[in-house]
Subunit: 424 residues, 2 copies
């Protein structure tokens, strides 16, 4: 029997009616002859509402208690989903993270899965039940406390269950039709991909594509789990994220050099101005930055101005890490010996991603030419084996994406249909 | 060190502000040098809202999933309460029913506590933490599933924790000031009792007094737990429910023959008309009634009418059990051979309770005289060792209570202050 893991996000189970619709879809998968395990998020805005309550009670909620609080959200949605399925005449049982054997480290709010021991789920599947598991949550063996996985947690739960149970497929249901060549809100002619390799998906997710969380893609890639991203609002087949080593039979891989163009407006740039151009200074700066847990993305060191013996070092990081990083660097001003700090949160990042870049020449030339023709100024550049990213002004990144999308012949013949709620 | 268990109901933790107020009260108990364990209900109307959601999803929610769903309510309130206390600088940890070792049978929705194994709570107390436990919920060892205790569950959780941990006192915080000689909404001159014996409390609770659930009182009585019922909205000392064998030092026991007058408007009367007056017929009727799990209270068999050889049998039961009992009896009409069924939901029950009845004579005479003087017609009578109950018309039971309250010299000199929310 085929085993399929399905994940439904909060917008797919926002109210009683959506829960019944999702239950029907799960039952259809079961009727088609599959074993089904479901990972489910909290209903709609439940998690945000609970967070809000916590902050009404105390300004800095204790992490252990916050996890206890937030984990109740999935408990509600999973129980409702299981009873909806049972109401349709199919056996279903819901399990919390700890009941499902989702063992994590003890980092409340951002726990890492260290082991999955789905004994009870195997028993339930063996007895013919549809299994519903709370996404986003786990359990630490040493403290015996409940943990939550943080951002992207429910996707990761689904992938981890698929890996541990040896599932044939992990379907991520969301409110968009699949993975597109670019964000359809910015690039109207974005085309849905039928397939994308996991390494390309990883680079796209890391570059700002929001449909799948990078952590789930990494987990899937490491454990060879095949993902299918699809909409819970229609029957579109969605996009398969495949491991190139295990290409699904009959899969038509896209012909383009570039799989997609990603846009990211969540980054800011810090420039450390007038740094003494002597060995070890850059190391000193990034040691301080690392101490704040800020997630540095791109780094550029300008050519030193001979007359002053000083240079500028710029790097990008998530805007949410900006304040703490500025204050840590500010406190080390005398130690590092720089002149000033500049903070710029009006930047945009555009990335083109494609596995075929490895064997294709001229990709960067084509990219820069397209940007030049569109009059877009490039401020920073980084490349990986299958990705080129550039920083532009925030207000020109959409225009840049349009130009690049056309230049790499990714445009569809018609505008993409953007569904309500497409924003996650 | 003194160990105090405190229970806070849903109306005491209805929003963030109430949770902070309750947290402050718990911290004050701690500051006074006590170890504190708290059992908490779900916030305000959470349980009803979750039940409503369940019924929106499916008409007959599966009991296992309903328990999974409802148990999330206390998880929310307990985590918020623990973080509020931590926010005030005191160590606090919340525990679910299963983490607290609340072991129950497998009856979803009305589980019985079979064992309490509070290993983690003892550890936490030993480490100086204030312990917060989810009321109303437990865990079955065989099915490894979460259960809920049903009505009166959170009070019972508190009492069971007090018994298992050998607490010195179990305080039940509620929205009334304590136990009164009668319901202050019906009897304005009702007086708050400083003390009441557990057997009297048990009879009052069984007779319709709603402040404490009979199940919690029984558990406390069986395990020798001293209860204090008090308001979470003021500092009134409340009412101590004591085991007469362990009367608290300096306790002033009330002088009255009668501890209280209870009113119950939740009952209905079924009369089986024209029953053949032959041996075994009553047994047949009550076997059928027992089969519906209806909770029969009073039974009256009229004197047989010689001419017909037939008699009437009347009994009272909760209105909520009325429909199923009528239909079970109706289906057995030919088998039993009765003529018709009458259903009367316009009855009221008045009970006077007092341990001193055992040694006082004339209590029933005084009761009946008071009712006669007030022009109240008595329809049925039952007595226990320390209680006399009568059935009257529903619309005269309040007037009856006033008359009896005065006749037994229970009236206070002033009207009782009824606080907002007094209705549970």
């Amino acid at each position: 029997m085929t085993l399929i893991v399905q994940k439904f996000g909060g917008s797919s189970v926002a109210d009683a009616e959506s829960i019944r619709r999702v239950a029907k879809r799960i039952v259809e998968t079961r009727k088609a002859g599959n074993d089904v395990v479901v990972a489910v998020s909290a209903m709609g805005d439940t998690t945000d509402e609970l967070l809000d309550l916590a902050h009404q009670v105390t300004p800095l909620p204790a992490p252990r208690e916050l996890d206890m609080l937030l984990s109740s959200g999935e408990r509600i949605s999973m129980a409702l989903l299981a009873m909806a399925i049972k109401g349709m005449g199919y056996e279903a049982r819901s399990y919390t993270g700890s009941q499902a054997g989702m063992i994590t480290d003890a980092t409340h709010g951002a726990a890492k899965i260290v082991d999955v021991s789905p004994v009870r789920l195997r028993e339930a599947l063996h007895e013919g039940a549809i299994v519903i598991v709370a996404g986003f949550q786990g359990f630490n063996r040493d403290t015996r406390d409940i943990t939550t996985l943080g951002r992207g947690g429910s996707d990761t739960t689904a992938v981890a269950l698929a890996a541990a149970l040896g599932a044939d497929l992990c379907e991520i249901y969301t409110d968009v039709d699949g993975i597109f060549t670019s964000d359809p809100r910015a690039v109207k002619r974005a085309r849905q991909l039928a397939h994308i390799s996991s390494e390309e998906m990883l680079e796209l997710a890391a570059s700002g594509a929001k449909v799948l969380h990078i952590r789930a893609v990494e987990y899937a890639r490491r454990h060879g789990v095949t993902l299918r991203v699809r909409s819970s609002f229609n029957n579109s087949p969605g996009t398969v994220v495949y491991d190139p080593a295990r290409l699904p039979e009959g899969a038509e891989v896209e012909e383009s050099v570039i799989a997609g163009v990603a846009i990211d407006l969540s980054q800011a740039k810090i420039t450390v101005v007038g740094v003494p151009d002597i060995p070890g200074v850059a190391a000193k700066i990034f040691k301080i930055v690392a101490g704040t847990d800020a997630n540095v993305d791109m780094i550029v060191q300008n050519v030193s101005v001979a007359a002053t013996g000083r240079t500028d070092i710029s790097f990008t990081l998530p805007k949410t890490d900006g304040e703490k990083t500025l204050s840590a660097l500010g406190a080390a001003k005398d130690d590092i010996g720089f002149e000033s700090l500049q903070y710029d949160d009006q930047i945009g990042k555009l990335s083109v991603v494609g596995a075929a870049m490895r064997s294709s020449t001229g990709v960067s030339a084509r990219l820069f030419e397209a940007l030049f023709d569109a009059g877009i100024n490039i401020e920073m550049i980084t490349t990986s084996e299958i990705r080129i990213s550039v920083i532009t002004r925030a207000d020109s990144v959409n225009q840049a994406a349009l130009a690049v999308h056309t230049a790499f012949e990714l445009d569809a013949e018609e505008d993409a249909v953007v569904h309500a709620g497409t924003g996650r």
